[in-house]
């Protein structure tokens, strides 16, 4: 059957979790490309041998198969790039090594270019230092947030110069920018309303 290989490729992509990128299937893509080449060769062959009564249906079928392969390959690449883009916004410019291993050479190139473009755009926003767009992808409801301390972490100096003492089982109101790294470290826990 025509187009089996490319469908397999897409299925493989779909089966993987949405926040990961499976290894770039070079073999699979080469298979599809060679299939497309064979189809093309077959069409030319048909045109050449049976000039009088052209088997139009056979040509159309092969033509459609080539188009479908092309569309599916593009989908494969596009989806991978979309996922990569999301990772740039969520993880940042430095990809974890296991993700990096799964990328093809051109994907890595694309990623580096994307990073450059994004950074240079973010630099132009605002008067001097620019704005980190990746920090708050959704506008925060408030600049301050309520957190609970999970461990005895000791002193914390605030931006205003005041000193807070983080003790287990106390609740605090902190500025979001200051609380976020501590929440990621597991020192604090956010209190949802």
């Amino acid at each position: 059957m025509y187009c089996d290989k490319v469908i397999e490729l897409l299925k493989e992509l779909e089966r993987s979790r949405e926040d990961t990128i499976p290894p770039y299937n070079n073999d699979g893509i080469n298979h599809v490309l060679s299939e497309m080449k064979t189809l093309d060769a077959e069409i030319i062959d048909l045109l050449r041998t049976q000039k009088d009564n052209l088997p139009l249906d056979a040509i159309r079928l092969r033509r459609a198969a080539i188009e479908r392969n092309k569309r599916c390959l593009l989908t494969y690449i596009w989806t991978r790039i979309q996922r990569l883009k999301e990772m740039r916004w969520e993880i940042g410019a430095i990809l974890p090594s296991d993700v990096r291993q799964n990328l093809s050479q051109s994907e890595i190139e694309w990623f580096n270019n994307y990073c450059k473009t994004l950074v240079s755009y973010m630099k132009t926003i605002g008067p001097d230092t620019g704005l980190n767009l990746t920090q708050d992808t959704k506008p925060p409801k408030s600049l301050y947030t309520e957190v609970r301390s999970l461990v005895d972490a000791g002193k914390l100096e605030l931006e205003s110069g005041e000193v807070l003492i983080l003790r287990k089982n106390s609740q605090y109101m902190l500025s979001r920018s200051q609380a976020e790294p501590l929440i990621r470290q597991g020192v604090l826990e956010q209190v949802r309303q």
């Binding site: 408030s142 600049l143 301050y144 309520e146 609970r148 002193k155 605030l158 005041e162 000193v163 807070l164 003492i165 003790r167 287990k168 089982n169 106390s170 609740q171 605090y172 109101m173 902190l174 500025s175 209190v191 949802r192 309303q193």
Partner: protein, 580 residues
């Protein structure tokens, strides 16, 4: 020093800087803290909130957190303690005390600026006058030194003159000393009268709501939290009926104002038959009479009737006769047994609609007067309704830490979270646990009465929760022990035939920590007392002074004491001697 203007005298001062908030472990305090947090969120005020259970913890937390803090807010703690004496704060630290425990310590009342009490002094509080309590010691010393100077000056004069003068001075000194002694006696008496009874003032949560209202930051949620604080005081008999009714009236006005828009919205909806609006606008509070049955909306009618304190005491449900009476009531109401054993929400709709009226009708004939009381119900969309008392029971159960082996701070935060509407599951878990606690409490009372464990010891009853009885470890929580004690006292009075013993108070005791051999003791005022005032705080203190028993009155509630188990009999003896 009392602060009258909550906004100018309290909020404007506090909101400029970092705040340390210390909250006691009780429902009222948690509601108040929740409202306060809600208010502070508008201004992005940085705060630190720490729950405290005892005076020792208060000291410890203060020591840890005092760095850089200028304003400290104490919620339901510290008002009846001499804060300056206990914490020894720097001079520029200001304490704001919002405490429903009364009487307020006299040193706090007359502190010039460091301690500010957020309450209006009530007329019946009878705070002694400043001159009667404090004497300007410096000025009197000055006078003394003046007279010494005079003495020296007169050294050159004739001896007779000198002797005369000395005699006059001596006389003066004598009179002065006598005056002083009189004054001291009077002071002692005044102080004793003032601190003799401990009781509760206005709910802290509703006071906090007042602040929110004055700042125009009220919402349905905030009002509801305030209502829970008031309800808690009513259910656990911390307030007089009259005061509760007054409070209910005030809250009724607030509901009219806040829920007005929501109600209009609903009417519009029903008129135009549009799709129901989203649940936030459907949130509303309704006031109305409700039954004094615990959690009946989330339980079966039979269980609720049996395990609620009010009905089980009036019907004496722990006896065989009582059981029959319960069946009779159900029969008279025309409620089939199978329905009464069904969860309320899955009961027949008609029966459910009539239930309230049926109960009201029956209450007259069965010694169930005062079965109804004005209360509030929270409606949210089409989900189950919650009565304010449901919240109180659920919170009490969540706050109790011994059941599920969590730390008490964790329970504190769970309780606080169960107030948010987004965490309904915590509330429902609490309700389930509350049912369990109520059931156990009823069984405990039944067993205690059968075994005659409520013992009459002259001027009071006492009940000792024996270690090792089923689920006895819950009663190491003071709040639950108080619930048990008041249940036991009412049950005992109802089941004893003699009338003369109805005016006696009750003391309950339970093991606190079996490893350290400590126990807690709570005192409950007699039920005939219309004012819920307890004299046990003072009595415990006096017993501790007279005997050499190591009694620690560490809790903010003065009628709760902690001691070694081996000292308990001696303590009871001394208390009997003191009270008789």
């Amino acid at each position: 020093m009392f602060v009258d203007d909550l906004v100018k005298g309290f909020y404007d001062v506090v909101s400029s800087n970092k705040i340390l908030i210390l909250v006691n472990y009780d429902v009222d305090a948690i509601c108040a803290a929740k409202i306060f947090q809600y208010i502070l969120r508008f201004d992005n005020v940085i705060y630190v909130l720490v729950p405290v259970k005892t005076t020792t913890e208060l000291k410890k937390v203060y020591k840890e957190q005092k760095a850089d803090v200028k304003h400290i807010v104490l919620i339901n703690c510290g008002g009846s303690l001499d804060i300056i004496d206990i914490l020894e704060p720097e001079e520029d630290i200001i304490f704001f005390v919002i405490d429903s425990h009364r009487p307020t310590d006299i040193c706090n009342v007359y502190s010039s600026s460091q301690i500010r009490i957020l309450a209006t002094p009530e007329n019946d509080e009878k705070i002694p006058k400043f001159d009667d309590i404090f004497i300007d010691e410096e000025s009197s010393e000055e006078e003394d030194s003046n007279s010494d100077d005079l003495n020296e000056d007169s050294g050159n004069d004739a001896i007779e003159k000198r002797q005369n003068k000395r005699r006059i001075l001596q006389q003066n000194a004598f009179i002065k000393r006598k005056e002083r002694r009189n004054w001291e006696e009077k002071r002692k008496k005044l102080l004793f009268d003032y601190t003799q009874f401990s009781y509760y003032g206005r709910s802290t949560a509703i006071l906090m709501y007042d602040l929110a209202w004055k700042l125009h930051r009220e919402s349905v949620d905030v009002l509801w939290w305030g209502i829970i604080g008031v309800t808690e005081q009513f259910i656990f008999g911390k307030t007089e009926n009259m005061l509760y009714l007054k409070e209910v009236e005030l809250i009724g006005d607030h509901i009219g104002r806040i829920c007005e828009s929501a109600v209009n919205h609903n009417e519009l909806n029903s008129l135009s038959q549009t799709v129901p609006s989203n649940d936030s606008s459907n949130l509303r509070i309704e006031s109305g009479k409700d039954l004094l049955l615990a959690l009946y909306r989330h339980w079966t009618i039979e269980s609720s009737l049996r395990y609620s304190m009010f009905t089980s005491v009036s019907l004496k449900l722990w006896t065989v006769k009582g059981e029959k009476r319960l069946k009779q009531i159900l029969a008279e109401m025309g409620l089939p047994l199978s329905e009464s054993r069904q969860m309320y929400r899955s009961m027949d709709l008609n029966l459910r609609k009539q239930f309230f009226e049926m109960m009201e009708k029956i209450s007259n004939t069965h010694n169930l007067l005062n079965l109804t009381y004005p209360s509030f119900i929270l409606h949210q969309g089409f989900k189950t309704r919650y009565q304010s008392a449901d919240y109180v029971y659920s919170m009490i159960a969540t706050l109790e830490s011994n059941i599920h082996g969590k730390s008490s701070a964790e329970c504190f935060y769970n309780t606080m979270d169960s107030l948010s509407r987004s965490k309904k599951n915590l509330l429902d878990e609490g309700i389930e646990r509350a049912k369990w606690i109520l059931t156990n409490m009823f069984r405990h009372i039944q067993a205690a009465l059968d075994m005659r464990q409520v013992i009459l010891a002259g001027p009071f009853y006492y009940l000792i929760v024996q270690e090792g009885t089923l689920n006895s470890q819950h009663y190491s929580d003071p709040q639950l022990l108080i619930m048990l004690a008041s249940f036991a006292l009412r049950a005992q009075v109802a089941s004893s035939h003699k009338n003369r013993n109805t005016h006696l108070p009750l003391i309950a005791s339970a093991v606190l920590d079996s490893d350290q051999d400590t126990c807690i003791i709570v005192g409950i005022p007699p039920i005939t007392e219309s004012l819920p005032r307890s004299f046990f705080g003072k009595a415990f203190e006096q017993v501790a002074n007279k005997t050499n028993i190591d009694v620690s009155l560490d809790y903010f509630d003065s009628s709760i004491a902690k001691m070694q188990i081996k000292d308990r009999p001696k303590f009871f003896d001394a208390l009997t001697a003191l009270l008789s």
